[in-house]
């Protein structure tokens, strides 16, 4: 496949690995932000091609993993309502809420449809005018334009039965939360290539200056990731901290202006609770007042019970430590034993991009039993 195969070329991977060995003089800790990048790193063993001095730690970039329990609970209650068709990406179905997950709700008769695109939910609303159709709007900046377009399309079609349960989260506030934590170990970032495809990277420039960390926008294939590491290490060794762009074939400094305009029209920033991490100021999106008629939480407020956000930490799951890069998945005592993709204790074991699921899939055999 063009623009994929070239960036998986073993010779290029080998060359970049050798180059990183050549330039590395000091120990450095680098965080890849996006769960898609984590998946590539673990799948291809890219961390093993790096010098021992370089530690890659896995960031919070999995929207499935950080969606707060109270929104999963709300989703489960909404999906049980008899007049509702609840539409969701497949990843969300096995994410544990406080009592159940969407898959169990579906087994109990909830009408839950797995969609590929938010526009599918609009079509379902169009062809089921007697039902209330709710789209679970989960994702980072990458996915927000698609959800915004679905809302705009529903308005264009005058649909009175289309709603969204908005759980969108934003990457830069989470990176700042990590950098400002007293436990922070991150010295450089691989920024998420598809988030930046939408948003560009100008907003990272003040973060680089304030925290004196290099941030390199990076793609998802093995060559992309190693080149991103090479560019971060080069800056670290030279004492620089600028924004770099490894993923220039998709990312421009100002991003996709049309997509940004659509998101800006429909959504506004709001503080959001991140599962396992806690509240991060202005780190989520909600519908603007002018689109409040599409807000599922407002429409169905009297038919569901929203839990308080204070008690939303999982009991045994260490996802907060994992998502902030403070702990590797295989260091968790429940990993691979009490917590597996079939019986997850927390979200990072559920999502295909969750760090725990990636380790379970590709590194399970390395974890000593017991």
């Amino acid at each position: 496949m063009k623009y994929v195969d070239e960036f998986r070329n073993p010779n290029a991977v080998h060359t970049l690995s050798r180059e990183i060995h050549r330039i590395t003089r000091h120990p450095w800790t680098i965080m890849e932000v996006c769960g898609g990048q984590t998946h590539s790193i673990v799948r291809y063993g890219l961390d093993r091609l790096l010098p021992g001095d370089i530690t890659l730690i896995h960031g919070p970039g999995c929207p499935v993993c950080v969606t707060p329990i109270e929104l999963i609970d709300a989703a489960c209650q909404l999906a049980m309502l008899p007049d509702v068709i609840f539409c969701s990406f497949g990843d969300m179905l096995r994410v544990p809420g406080s009592h159940e997950d969407l898959l169990r709700v579906k087994a109990q008769g909830g009408d839950i449809r797995i969609i590929y695109s938010p526009l599918d939910a609009v079509e379902i609303a169009q062809s089921n005018p007697q039902r209330q159709v709710i789209c679970f709007a989960v994702g980072f900046e990458t996915t927000a334009p698609a959800q915004a377009m679905a809302v705009l399309q529903a308005r264009r079609l005058h649909l009175a039965n289309f709603y969204t349960l908005v759980a969108h989260v934003l990457v830069p506030p989470a990176m700042e939360a990590i950098l400002s934590s007293p436990d922070n170990r991150v010295q450089g970032f691989l920024a998420a290539g598809h988030v930046c495809t939408i948003m560009g990277y100008e907003m990272y420039e003040p973060i680089c200056r304030r925290y004196q960390v290099p941030i390199v926008v990076t793609g998802f294939e093995p060559v992309d990731i190693l080149e991103g590491v090479q560019l971060v290490v080069t800056q670290l060794e030279e004492g620089r901290y600028d924004v770099g762009n490894q993923y220039a074939r998709s990312v421009h400094r100002t991003g996709n202006l049309e997509a940004r305009r659509v998101v800006e029209d429909v959504f506004e920033p709001v503080s959001r609770n991140w599962r396992g991490i806690g509240k991060i100021p202005l780190s989520g999106l909600q519908l603007r007042q002018s689109f409040a008629e599409f807000d599922a939480l407002q429409k169905f407020a009297d038919r569901i019970q929203l839990r308080s956000t204070a008690s939303s930490l999982d009991s045994e799951c260490q996802s907060g430590q994992i998502l902030q890069g403070l702990m590797k998945p295989s260091a968790c005592s429940a990993f691979g034993t009490r917590c597996t993709p079939d019986h997850p204790l927390g979200a990072p074991m559920v999502s295909s991009e969750g760090a725990c699921a990636a380790y379970y899939r590709y590194r399970h055999h390395e974890v000593a039993p017991g």
Binding site: M1, L16, E19, C62, F89, T142, Q246
Partner: protein
């Protein structure tokens, strides 16, 4: 979640939403092209949840690969691994 893959635009339709057929190494899919007004037939686009989110910049891709190829022929890089 942010998974997005490149495909080539084969056909464009202008209904109320700009859509088109995109081929992913032979597998075709209807995709919304409203967010990439600059993309035309034959262009590669990066597709996420049914939406093209960028037009692939071929020159940038070539430059990226050329830069890596350059590392191989640079004799300064032939030092043994530490």
């Amino acid at each position: 979640m942010c998974l997005a893959i490149p495909g080539q635009i084969q056909r464009i339709e202008h209904d109320d939403l700009r859509t088109g057929t995109v081929s992913f190494a032979g597998v075709t899919k209807e995709v919304c092209l409203a967010l990439v007004p600059e993309a035309s037939i034959g262009d590669y686009v990066i597709v996420h949840v049914g939406f093209a989110i960028s037009k692939v910049d071929e020159q940038a891709a070539m430059e990226s690969l050329a830069m890596i190829a350059q590392l191989v022929v640079d004799p300064a890089n032939e030092r043994p691994l530490p």
